[in-house]
C-alpha cells in the first residue's frame, strides 16, 4: 500500500473544520440542519415561479436557469443549462436563458472543491456538515476545472424535480393521474384527451407544491441534449459586441479610476511629488492613496484618469527586495533542491536504495519561470456604496465570496463598513485563476467609499495588469531514476522547489493559513501512480520571495508535467526505447490511460517518418479526473526558429455534456500551453517586473497557431474537468518534439526567445545552447 503523505484535501478543509466547530458550538446541529443545501425550495413571485434555486419559469413560458458559476469562455453556462433542459424536457431554444444569480444561496456553494467528493456520491457526517458550513459561508467559486463535476448532478436533480412538480400541477388541473401525463418541448400533455398545458401555465401551481426529495432522473439512453453539441448560449451577444463584460458596466453618475502600483511588491508610498499638477489635469476629481500601497486617480472618464496617472511622480519606500532579480530566484530554487528538510509528498517503497543499486541511472534538473495570466480583459471592478450602507459590485470575477470580502476590506480602509454587499458577476474576458482574488475589488471599494453614493469603475491599464499580477511560481526540479534490466524505471526520486501558491492565496483571502509546506499545487503531477514504477518518492521545498503567487490555469501541473514527462522521455532514450512504446509499457496496468495514449498515437501516425528538421513528441497526464495525451509536431529551422506544425490531443473526460465545448477547451488549452512553453516569462530586475504589455509578454498569434485535432474517448465514468487538462501535456510534448528534431534536450522554460514581427506573427527562436 503506498504511503501517501500529501494533503490530498484542499486548503479549505481546515476552514471547514474550524467553522464547523464554531457553528456547532454556537447554533448546534439544529441550526445547520435548517440550511437548504439542495436548493429545491420553491415559491411564487408575481408572474414568475421559482421552482428551485436553479430554475425560474415565467408565466409566458420563459425558463431562466441560474448557473452559479462564472462564464469565462469555457461554456459552463451552456453546459449546465443543457443538464437542466434535458431533465425538464425543454429544447435549448430562445425560451431558455441563463443568469448568474446574485443571491449567495447555500446550494450554490463550491463544496466539491473543498471536500473532493462528487455530489452524486456524497454521504457521511463530514460531507453533511461541510456542505452546510460552506453553504452558510457563501463559498461560491469557479475553478479547478470543477464546475461540471460539482454541479451537473445537483442541476440534474433541480430539472427533474421541477418537471415532476409541473406534472403534479397538471394532474391536479386536469383531474387525471400523473401516470397518464407526458412532457415534451415545454408542455405537459394528456395523450388520452389531447389536452396540453404549457410550463408557463403550470409554473405558479407547481411552485406551491412540495418538491420531491428524490426525483427520478432521465436514463442516459433517453438523453436528447446531454452528449450532443449545443451552441453556446452566450455567443449571440458576444458576436454582436454586446456590453457583457465587467469593463462594459455603465451606471448613472459613474466615476472612472486608474491606478498605479508600487514597482516593487511590498513597497509603500513615500510621497506623491506632483499631486497638485495631477489634480490640475482635465476632469480629475481625486488622487487617492490606496491602503498605503497604490495611488489611484479618479476622473470623469477613464482616459482622463489614465492620462493623469501617467503623469504621477511617486516615491516609494525601499524594501529588502530592491535588488531581487530572476537569477537570484533561480539560484535559490536550485539550492533548495538539496535542502535538509523537504516536505514528503510521496514515499512509496525504497526509492533511494533502488536508484543507488540500479545498473543505469538518469538524472536531470529542470526549471520553469514565473508566468502571468494576461487575461484579454484587463482587471477591473465597479463598486457603489450607497448612503444607506448597501454596497453593490459588478465584477468579472471567479468568486463572489472574494468580491464580497474585497468590498468589505476596501471600504474599511476608508473606515466605511457596508451593511450588505450585492455581487453581480459579469462575463469574464478570460480569467485563468487570476480573478479569484479580491485585489481590484478592494481598491474599487475603497474609492467608492471615498465617493459615497456614486459608482466607481476602476480599470487597470494593461501595464498594471502585467506588473501587478498574482503569478504562477518560478519552479525547479531535480529528477533521478534507476532503470532496471528491461530499461524501465525501478524507482524515481523527485525534488521540486517553488513558492507556495496556497500560502499566498490563503494569506490574501482567508482567515487562516495552512502554511506553505506540503502545498499540493507544488507537487501535483509528479506522482504518476498509473505508471507502474515499483518505488517512488516526491519531496517539495517552499522557496519564499516577495512576488505574490496565485492560481494559474493548471497550477503545478503546468511545470511538473513538463518536468516529469520530459524526464520520462530521457529515461526512454537512455534505455534505447521508443518514447511511445516506453510509456505503453509503463501504462500496462492502466487500460483507461493506455486507450488515451493509443488514440493520440494513432491520430499522429506515430511511426511515420518525418523529414529532417522535424520532430514529434508525446506526453500524457491525468488531472482533474480526466486523462489527456498529446503529440506535438515541430519544425526547427537552421537558425533555430521553431514552428509548431500541429498538436494532436486525445482526452478521456468521462461523461461529456457538450462535446464541442470540450473540443474548444482543448484547442484553447493547447494555444495557451504553446504560448507558455515557447514564449512566456515574467522576469525581475531591481525587485520589479520587467515586462509590461504584449510587446514584451508576447502571446501566440493566428500566423503561429498550430493545426489542432482533438479526439474525445467514449467513457462511462462521470464527468471530469476540461478547463485545465488541455494545457498540461503541451510543454513536455513540445520539448520532446524539439529533442526529436534536434537532439537537444531543453530543460528550462521558455524554450525560445520570441519577437513580434510587424505585429503579424511571433518569431520564436530556440534559446542558444548553454
Amino acid at each position: 500500500m503506498p504511503r501517501l503523505l500529501s494533503r490530498r484535501t484542499f486548503l479549505f478543509t481546515g476552514a471547514a473544520v474550524a467553522g464547523t466547530a464554531m457553528v456547532a458550538a454556537v447554533g448546534g446541529v439544529g441550526l445547520l440542519s435548517t440550511v437548504d443545501v439542495d436548493g429545491l425550495e420553491s415559491f411564487v413571485d408575481g408572474e414568475r415561479a421559482v421552482l428551485n434555486a436553479f430554475l425560474t419559469i415565467h408565466s409566458d413560458g420563459r425558463v431562466v436557469v441560474s448557473v452559479p458559476r462564472t462564464e469565462m469562455g469555457q461554456g459552463i453556462h451552456t453546459g449546465l443549462a443543457m443538464v437542466v433542459a434535458e431533465e425538464l424536457d425543454i429544447p435549448m431554444d430562445e425560451r431558455l436563458s441563463v443568469v448568474f444569480p446574485t443571491e449567495l444561496h447555500p446550494a450554490y456553494s463550491n463544496w466539491f472543491n473543498v471536500l473532493g467528493v462528487r455530489p452524486e456520491e456524497a454521504s457521511g457526517p463530514v460531507v453533511w456538515v461541510g456542505r452546510r458550513v460552506l453553504g452558510l459561508a457563501g463559498f461560491i467559486s469557479t475553478g479547478a476545472s470543477a464546475s461540471t463535476m460539482a454541479m451537473w448532478h445537483p442541476m440534474r436533480v433541480a430539472g427533474a424535480s421541477a418537471r415532476q412538480m409541473l406534472i403534479a400541477a397538471a394532474s391536479a388541473r386536469l383531474g387525471v393521474p400523473v401516470s397518464a401525463l407526458t412532457t415534451d418541448d415545454g408542455f405537459v400533455t394528456h395523450a388520452a384527451s389531447g389536452r396540453t398545458l404549457s410550463y408557463g401555465q403550470l409554473a405558479a401551481d407547481a411552485a406551491v407544491l412540495s418538491p420531491p426529495e428524490d426525483p427520478a432522473l432521465k436514463p442516459a439512453a433517453q438523453w436528447r441534449i446531454i452528449g450532443r453539441s449545443q451552441p453556446r448560449v452566450d455567443l449571440p451577444a458576444k458576436v454582436r459586441g454586446a456590453p457583457v463584460f465587467g469593463m462594459d458596466v455603465v451606471l448613472p453618475d459613474m466615476l472612472h479610476a486608474a491606478i498605479r502600483h508600487a514597482p516593487v511588491f511590498g513597497a509603500e508610498l513615500a510621497a506623491i511629488n506632483n499631486e497638485p499638477d495631477v489634480r490640475a489635469q482635465p476632469g480629475i476629481l481625486d488622487v487617492a492613496i490606496v491602503n498605503r500601497r497604490q495611488v489611484a486617480v479618479v476622473a470623469r472618464s477613464w482616459w482622463q484618469a489614465e492620462q493623469a496617472a501617467q503623469l504621477l511622480d511617486i516615491s516609494w519606500t525601499s524594501t529588502d527586495f530592491d535588488t531581487f532579480a530572476t537569477a537570484q530566484m533561480s539560484r535559490d530554487l536550485n539550492a533548495a533542491l538539496t535542502s535538509d528538510d523537504p516536505h514528503d509528498a510521496v514515499d512509496d517503497g525504497d526509492a533511494e536504495a533502488a536508484i543507488t543499486t540500479a545498473a543505469d541511472r538518469v538524472e536531470a534538473t529542470y526549471e520553469a519561470p514565473f508566468v502571468t495570466h494576461a487575461c484579454m480583459e484587463p482587471m477591473n471592478a465597479t463598486v457603489i456604496i450607497r448612503e444607506d450602507g448597501a454596497a453593490e459590485a459588478w465584477v468579472p470575477s471567479q468568486a463572489p465570496i472574494a468580491v464580497r470580502q474585497g468590498v468589505y476590506n476596501g471600504a474599511s480602509w476608508a473606515d466605511v463598513h457596508p451593511a450588505s454587499v450585492t455581487c453581480n458577476i459579469t462575463m469574464n474576458g478570460g480569467a485563468f485563476g487570476r480573478r479569484s482574488d479580491q485585489d481590484v475589488v478592494a481598491q474599487a471599494a475603497f474609492l467608492a467609499a471615498r465617493h459615497r453614493g456614486r459608482p466607481v469603475k476602476l480599470i487597470w491599464s494593461r501595464e498594471e495588469d502585467i506588473r501587478g499580477g498574482l503569478y504562477r511560481s518560478h519552479a525547479a526540479a531535480r529528477l533521478r531514476a534507476g532503470l532496471g534490466p528491461d530499461g524501465l524505471p525501478l524507482a524515481y526520486d523527485i525534488r521540486v522547489t517553488a513558492q507556495s501558491a496556497i500560502e499566498g492565496i490563503a494569506g490574501r483571502n482567508l482567515p487562516f493559513n495552512p502554511g506553505p509546506d506540503g502545498d499540493r499545487f507544488t507537487v501535483e503531477g509528479l506522482d504518476k501512480p498509473y505508471y507502474t514504477v515499483p518505488s517512488r518518492r516526491v519531496r517539495s521545498q517552499h522557496v519564499p520571495s516577495h512576488v505574490p503567487i496565485g492560481l494559474w490555469r493548471s497550477n503545478g501541473y503546468s511545470f511538473n508535467t513538463f518536468f516529469i514527462e520530459s524526464f520520462i522521455d530521457e529515461c526512454a532514450l537512455a534505455a534505447g526505447a521508443d518514447p511511445l512504446a516506453y510509456r505503453r509499457a509503463l501504462l500496462r496496468d492502466h487500460p483507461r490511460h493506455l486507450a488515451v495514449l493509443d488514440r493520440v498515437a494513432e491520430m499522429a501516425d506515430w511511426g511515420a517518418p518525418l523529414t529532417p528538421g522535424r520532430g514529434r513528441g508525446i506526453a500524457i497526464e491525468e488531472c482533474h479526473r480526466s486523462i489527456v495525451a498529446q503529440i506535438a509536431e515541430v519544425t526547427i529551422a537552421t537558425d533555430g526558429e521553431i514552428t509548431v506544425d500541429r498538436v494532436l490531443c486525445a482526452i478521456d473526460v468521462g461523461l461529456v455534456i457538450n462535446p464541442d465545448a470540450v473540443v474548444a477547451q482543448m484547442e484553447g488549452g493547447i494555444s495557451f500551453g504553446v504560448t507558455s512553453a515557447l514564449m512566456s516569462a515574467i522576469t525581475f530586475e531591481d525587485g520589479a517586473v520587467v515586462q509590461s504589455n504584449f510587446h514584451d509578454y508576447p502571446i501566440q498569434r493566428l500566423a503561429n497557431a498550430p493545426e489542432v485535432e482533438v479526439s474525445i474517448i467514449e467513457s462511462d465514468l462521470p464527468p471530469g474537468g476540461a478547463g485545465e487538462p488541455g494545457i498540461v501535456p503541451v510543454a513536455a510534448a513540445l520539448g520532446n518534439a524539439i529533442h526529436a528534431a534536434t537532439g537537444r534536450r531543453i530543460r528550462r522554460l521558455p524554450f525560445a526567445t520570441t519577437q513580434t514581427i510587424g505585429l503579424r506573427r511571433t518569431r520564436s527562436v530556440l534559446v542558444p545552447e548553454a
Binding site: R240, A374, A664, S671, I699
Partner: protein, 154 residues
C-alpha cells in the same frame, strides 16, 4: 468639435481631439463593442473600420478621423439586427470563448473579406494580427473561410 460618421450616423463630437477614438466610442457614444486590451496597437481588441480600413482605435486620436466614416462591431448587423455574414459565420463555427477579443477579430475579418473575397490561409495569417488569449485561432480561420464561401454562393 470633430465631425464624423459613426455606424451611418453623422455626429459632431465635443471632446479633446487627442482623445483616442476607442475612448470616444466607449465613453462618449456608449459603443462598448470595441474593447481596450493593450492601448498600444498590439492586440487588436479595439479595432474598428475607418473608411473601410481595420484600424486600432486605441492609438487613433479623435482629431485624426475628422470627416471619416467609422464602423464598429455594433454597426455590422443591419438595422433589423440581422447579423452580418461574418458575424453569422462566427456563430456557426462557435468561435468565441470568453469573447473579449472577438469584436476586433470580426472587424479585421470583415475588412479582409472586403478586399480579398477568397483569402488563402497564408493571406489570412498576413492580414489578421489580433491576439486571442483563449486560443480560438483554429475556429477563426474556419469562420473566415466559411464567410468567404457563403459569399461565393450568394
Amino acid at each position: 468639435m470633430v465631425s464624423l460618421t459613426v455606424n451611418g450616423t453623422s455626429l459632431d463630437i465635443q471632446a479633446d481631439a487627442a482623445k483616442p477614438l476607442l475612448w470616444v466610442l466607449r465613453e462618449e457614444l456608449g459603443l462598448l463593442g470595441p474593447k481596450y486590451g493593450c492601448g498600444i496597437a498590439q492586440c487588436g481588441a479595439c479595432r474598428v473600420l475607418i473608411d473601410g480600413q481595420s484600424t486600432p482605435s486605441c492609438i487613433t486620436p479623435l482629431g485624426s478621423v475628422s470627416g471619416a466614416s467609422v464602423v464598429t462591431i455594433e454597426g455590422l448587423s443591419d438595422t433589423e439586427g440581422t447579423l452580418s455574414d461574418v458575424q453569422q459565420a462566427w456563430l456557426d463555427e462557435q468561435v468565441p470563448q470568453c469573447g473579449f477579443c472577438q469584436p476586433g477579430f470580426i472587424i479585421a475579418a470583415t475588412a479582409l473579406l472586403a478586399e480579398n473575397p477568397r483569402p488563402t490561409d497564408a493571406e489570412i495569417d498576413e492580414a489578421i494580427t489580433n491576439i486571442c488569449r483563449c486560443g480560438t485561432y483554429p475556429r477563426i480561420r474556419r469562420a473566415i473561410h466559411r464567410a468567404a464561401a457563403a459569399r461565393d454562393q450568394a
